[in-house]
Symmetry: C2
Subunit: 344 residues, 2 copies
DNA sequence: CTGAAAGCGCTTACAG
DNA sequence: CTGAAAGCGCTTACAG
């Protein structure tokens, strides 16, 4: 800027005025400045600007796993809105590692991002402290944090699972296996609660063995499915608590030479582009991923702009059951079509 | 920092020294400083630091589509390496829009990122200029740029496609449909070239109608497959030039009530987690996504550190054919199993 | 081991 | 419409 000012024989103020359009500049001076800018190849320095203005025009986005279509769909929507509003995105993935998550929050805070959108991992207490220390506007995605008041956009996990459950029950299923997510997580607990709700509602007794602990990843779901399907009394249907675990379920089924939906019905949580291209076309609960991302971005921008003040706002969105072909009708009371396992 | 210095009754230099460990500080003063830091809740300001040092410790990563598992797998690997080396990542997605891509490059340059990793979209000339103007170390992923010397990591697209082609030909296929990517792109052209290479090598005549122009997206591939399979002489196998187009292929096949591999063989490019969980388990060319990302990150870091100087280094990785179950053996010369379409 | 001071490249009242 | 100058929060020779 100084160099430009000298070359154009104007003050540094004038250069700033033409670069940013913050002040009226006479045509001749403007032209001199523009020529100097081209000649020198001057490019504004956003770092210096940030130091002065106290704003970086960047938002920190913290997610569990960039490899999971749920997150990437949400992030895509977030970025679109944010970019249009003049923000950049620093993306941090923590692989559901709590320590890494806190690292990232600290780094983002040091870098003076203008706000945080986070889909949190792990226990509330720790995270709450980390978030409080940033003194940054934050919007939570996918879950809320007890004792921490801020904007959030979540979905109705409980009723979503209830709706798949009702669907399966309406197809005659009574023994429904459930592969949970991490029960330390909000979504993990809520989804399991929805399962239990539906059982109660239908007057079906809970059965220990039918609920298998998963970790939202494919490998555990694989093992869980094996356990489920080799047990003495196996289920006629399985619900997976997220998209990645469905992979494990299907692989385990392949391994056992069980086919879906003939031998076993499967329903998932989260939709993804491949879900209705291959077989079986997966019946699943689609989360409104675009809306989640857009809302999160809007909430944050309004906070930063000061258009929104006071108490945290909660946006609660609904999942949508996509009935495809991975669940079949079954005669209530019948056990799974035998495959020579009757001896068990 | 000033506040801390005053509270601890030391100079600002001393505070800097204990925060960064850049200089030895006597124990008592160190303790005074640390106490003051806690009391005040001081957090270092990375923006100010960057202005002074001229380094932001952030890398710009520019990709086409965050929704595509190929990119996300690569980005995941990039981030892991970069994070360990103390860098953050500003991720920019352009949806294969050239203008947006240039916008992003400009923004990243203004923000003074220390380097750029980009998987480029569009024509060379424009992009080359945009990149040159940044005066930043850049590493290209997925393609090279004529006339622009820099580090790059690419894969052998041509021989990769040749290997699927050989495989299909060995299964007896002679009429092989090819759904290309954008021919304006390096990978699009190379993959098509591999197809033609293999045809020539096997002494099979090229046939216009068997090559369909795609755009790397699912929708075009859907249409292309429809055209391919409703033509008078339809192929016995289809190759898709990337992962997303396979979705379109499978959907079109579903629509036509054609099943794979019984009625038609399908092979893809890019592997993804769902490819071997659902049916048909997809035969595809897996790109070494982790290696691509890791190498790209390493190349860039070495450049920034000054450990690497001079001419751009090219890392060329090989794709790997994953034979699964979506291609079947066929009697050479036979046309596709008729489905009452003989009248055509 | 420690401090005073310059300077990174901007923005922005203040004064003209 | 224009400029001189302070200051954002750091780092880092330089001097002691």
């Amino acid at each position: 800027m100084l160099a430009v000012a000298k070359a154009a024989k104007v003050s540094i103020f004038t250069v700033s005025a033409v670069v940013n359009g913050t002040s009226v500049v006479s045509d001749q001076r403007r032209e001199r400045v523009e020529k100097a800018i081209r000649a020198i190849g001057y490019k504004r320095n956003a770092v210096a600007r940030s130091l002065k203005t106290g704003r970086t025009q960047t938002i920190g986005v913290v997610i569990g796993d960039i490899t999971n279509p749920f997150y990437t769909d949400v992030v895509a929507a977030i970025q679109q809105v944010l970019y249009r509003a003049g923000y950049g995105v620093m993306l941090c993935c923590n692989d559901r590692d709590v320590t890494l998550q806190e690292d990232h929050i600290a780094v983002l805070r040091d870098r003076r991002v203008d706000g945080l959108i986070i889909s949190p991992t792990g226990e509330d207490t720790h995270l709450r402290k980390a978030l409080e220390q940033t003194h940054l506007p934050v919007v939570l995605v996918d879950r809320i944090l007890t004792g921490f008041d801020c904007d959030a956009v979540i979905i109705e996990n409980r009723s979503a699972v209830r709706s798949v459950m009702r669907y399966l029950i309406s197809l005659g299923h009574r023994r429904i296996g459930f592969i949970s997510g991490l029960l330390g997580s909000f979504t993990g607990r809520e989804r399991l609660a929805g399962y239990n709700d539906a059982l109660k509602e239908a007057g079906i007794a809970r059965e220990q063995g039918l609920v298998q602990l998963g970790n939202f990843r494919s490998d555990e779901a694989y093992e869980a499915t094996l356990r489920l399907m080799t047990a003495a009394k196996s289920p006629t249907a399985i619900i997976s608590s997220n998209n990645q675990m469905v992979i494990g379920v299907m692989k385990a089924l392949n391994h056992l030479k069980l086919s879906c939906p003939e031998d076993i019905s499967v329903a998932g949580f989260d939709d993804f582009p491949w879900a209705d291209a291959f077989r079986p076309q997966l019946t699943t609960i689609a989360q409104p991923v675009r809306a989640i991302g857009e809302q999160a971005a809007h909430l944050l921008i309004e906070r930063i702009d000061g258009r929104a003040k006071g108490k945290g706002r909660k946006v609660i969105l609904a999942g949508e059951l996509k009935v495809r072909e991975s669940c079949r009708r079954v005669i209530p009371g019948a056990t799974r079509k035998s495959r020579g396992e009757a001896a068990q």
